[in-house]
């Protein structure tokens, strides 16, 4: 007898097509965790997904979740308003670092400060992936990007911005965590954090935020395995993992 050992999450529709993430990109891991958690918590049937602009759009080829795609950076403003209009719907944004931390910094911080009862999934790979590898607010010092060809230097470009730590200065947010998907142990932790963040919204506690430290093998100029080592050995020194707040 055949035994089913894995189940495709309801939010993902492989008959529709495939995703367009580059091989080895951790976006597919974080998106899968989010989709699985929607299923596990019985949320798929009452969820709306607010999608940012950037590589997260590479999921569009294979998802069948009710989706709003809004202007670049504005996910939290759209999602926060939707939640107030339809409080029984589970509302989540999924945004990259250019989207959430550069052009959308104001929307993100003010939504967090209002305590909008939404869940924000933030994928931080320290670079603009979709547009070909430019400087992001989260780019590490010294990192070469197409717009910092000699490396990011603090005098000229400032320092990497830390969204969990910034949001943690505000009173209203109820859940803040930083995770990664480099290995099974971290994936399990990430699954728990996403579940906890979703539960905060279900309990009406307000703004919940999970940052995924992610990779971009294509624009980092690394193989997928090298990029995982780079996260473990370098990126996590700048962006420590952990639960910053769990009210």
């Amino acid at each position: 007898m055949m035994k089913q050992i894995t189940k495709i999450p309801a939010a993902i529709d492989l008959e529709k097509g495939s995703n367009d993430f580059c091989p080895g990109c951790l976006h597919s891991a974080s998106f899968k965790i989010v989709s699985q958690t929607l299923d596990e918590m019985g949320l798929f049937d009452k969820s709306a997904y607010v999608q940012g602009v950037g590589c997260c759009a590479n999921a569009l080829g294979y998802i069948r979740i009710d989706t709003i795609a809004c202007p670049h950076g504005r996910g939290c403003a759209v999602a926060g308003a939707m939640k107030r209009c339809m409080p029984d719907t589970f509302i989540m944004t999924y945004q990259g670092d250019g989207d959430l931390a550069a052009i959308g910094m104001a929307e993100t911080m003010h939504s967090a400060n209002r305590g909008d009862n939404i869940t924000v999934i933030f994928v931080n790979n320290g670079i603009y992936g979709m547009t070909g590898g430019q400087l992001a607010p989260t780019t590490l010092l010294g990192a070469r990007t197409t717009t910092t060809p000699f490396g990011r230097n603090a005098n000229e470009h400032g320092y990497p911005m830390h969204m969990c730590e910034l949001i943690n200065t505000l009173e209203a947010p109820s859940y803040i965590a930083r995770v990664t998907c480099t290995d099974p142990a971290n994936i399990r932790k990430a699954q728990k954090c996403v579940r906890d963040a979703f539960q905060h919204q279900l309990d009406g506690k307000g703004f919940s935020f999970v940052e995924f430290i992610s990779n971009c093998p294509t624009n980092w100029g690394m193989t997928p395995l090298q990029s995982l080592d780079h996260i473990k050995n370098v990126v996590l020194n700048e962006y420590p993992l952990g639960v910053f707040r769990d009210k």
Partner: protein, 357 residues
């Protein structure tokens, strides 16, 4: 039930929106329309509506995007430079075919300009807010009563076409107080029925992906939208004409300056001047048909009156008149309310030169 009240323009427009079933508003302070958010902050909670103050026009307009996506009749209101900041969102709402009513209480420009009334956003309103060359039906009220009636109607138009719809006002109409008859309040059942008529609202597992993201593949959607805009030219044109039968000179205008121009026309008619009058009640689609009612064998000239330098409405008038009569302008810079005496003098001058004593 209809109700007569003495009200400030901004508040009357906000109340008309609530009566039309508007249950979501987000805004950011900007003179001269602060009375809209201030009124709705008190009013919307009374009808289980949602009011939000955004951290910018950009954020506020995206909140309205969210409200509209959630199926609520939603209002966006600002003034000129604020509308520019909201333009990106309105362009996206045209992409997603989300219904919204956009009120612009125009002030002087370009840029921050001045806080005084103006009509300098004509091109912006009638061509496209933001990128992509989409169109909106643009209603142009001349007084508070019309502002109320048109705002009420704009919500029906927005839902009918599932498309952003604009009411182009000015700081004068927004700040004035006048007696106004308010339209009937839609019942909770009516509001619920309107919200239920939007099956694409993403409440989960409805496959609304295509409806609320890209409505359709762009080449198909753009072609269909262009056809819709063409049909509007037959079904959605609104204008008013007066005295064209024996007119020797025609005065044309829209919005608040039409109100002042009409009164200048009355002054001179009493003196025996043969004046026709054309007022565009909607400026998109432009009322070309009104200019076909002119007897060009008899009319010696057309005077365009508007509060914009350079003239903008006049360009559409030119295209409609097609050189069949000379067109002159009577303008003030945006930010300066046009004076009836100046319009009287301009009409007198043109009449004497073109028609004779």
């Amino acid at each position: 039930m209809e109700e007569k009240k003495f009200m400030k323009g901004c508040e009357a427009v906000a109340e008309a929106a609530v009566r039309a079933g508007c249950r979501f508003f987000a805004g950011y302070p900007i003179t001269p329309q602060n009375a809209v958010p201030e009124y709705l902050a008190r009013r919307l909670p009374q009808v289980n509506g949602v009011f939000m103050q955004g951290e910018s026009e950009v954020a506020s307009s995206n909140m309205v995007f969210g409200g509209a996506a959630a199926g609520k009749r939603s209002l966006l209101s600002s003034s000129s430079c604020g509308i520019s900041l909201m333009s990106e969102t309105v362009s996206w709402m045209a992409l997603c075919r989300l219904p919204v009513v956009v009120c612009n209480f125009q002030r002087g420009g370009p840029g921050i300009g001045s806080i005084q009334p103006s009509q300098q956003d004509y091109n912006q309103a009638t061509r496209a807010l933001g990128n992509g060359g989409y169109r909106m039906i643009v209603l142009a009220p001349a007084d508070i009563q019309e502002a109320v009636d048109m705002t009420y109607e704009a919500f029906d138009l927005a839902d009918k076409y599932s498309e952003p719809t604009m009411v182009l006002l000015d700081g004068f109409t927004g700040s004035l107080m006048e007696p106004v008859t308010l339209p009937p309040m839609k019942s909770e059942e009516e509001v619920k029925a309107i919200e239920a008529s939007k099956p694409w609202v993403p409440t989960g597992n409805k496959g609304t992906f295509h409806r609320v993201f890209f409505h359709k593949p762009a080449p198909i959607q753009n072609g269909e939208d262009a056809e819709m805009y063409e049909k509007w030219k037959e079904t959605e044109v609104q204008y008013e004409t007066d005295g064209l039968e024996d007119a020797k000179l025609v005065v044309t205008s829209y919005g608040v300056s039409a109100r002042i121009a009409e009164s200048a026309v009355e002054v001179l008619r009493a003196e025996g001047y043969k004046l026709g009058f054309i007022r565009a009640k909607r400026i998109y689609p432009f009322p070309e048909a009104a200019f076909e009612e002119i007897n060009y064998d008899q009319v010696k000239g057309i005077l365009d009156v508007e509060m914009s330098q350079p003239a903008q409405y006049a360009e559409d008038v030119k295209a409609a008149v097609r050189k069949r009569a000379p067109i002159e302008t009577c303008l003030t810079s945006g930010g300066v309310i046009i004076d009836r005496d100046d319009i009287v003098a301009a009409i007198r001058d043109m009449y004497e030169r073109k028609v004779g004593e």
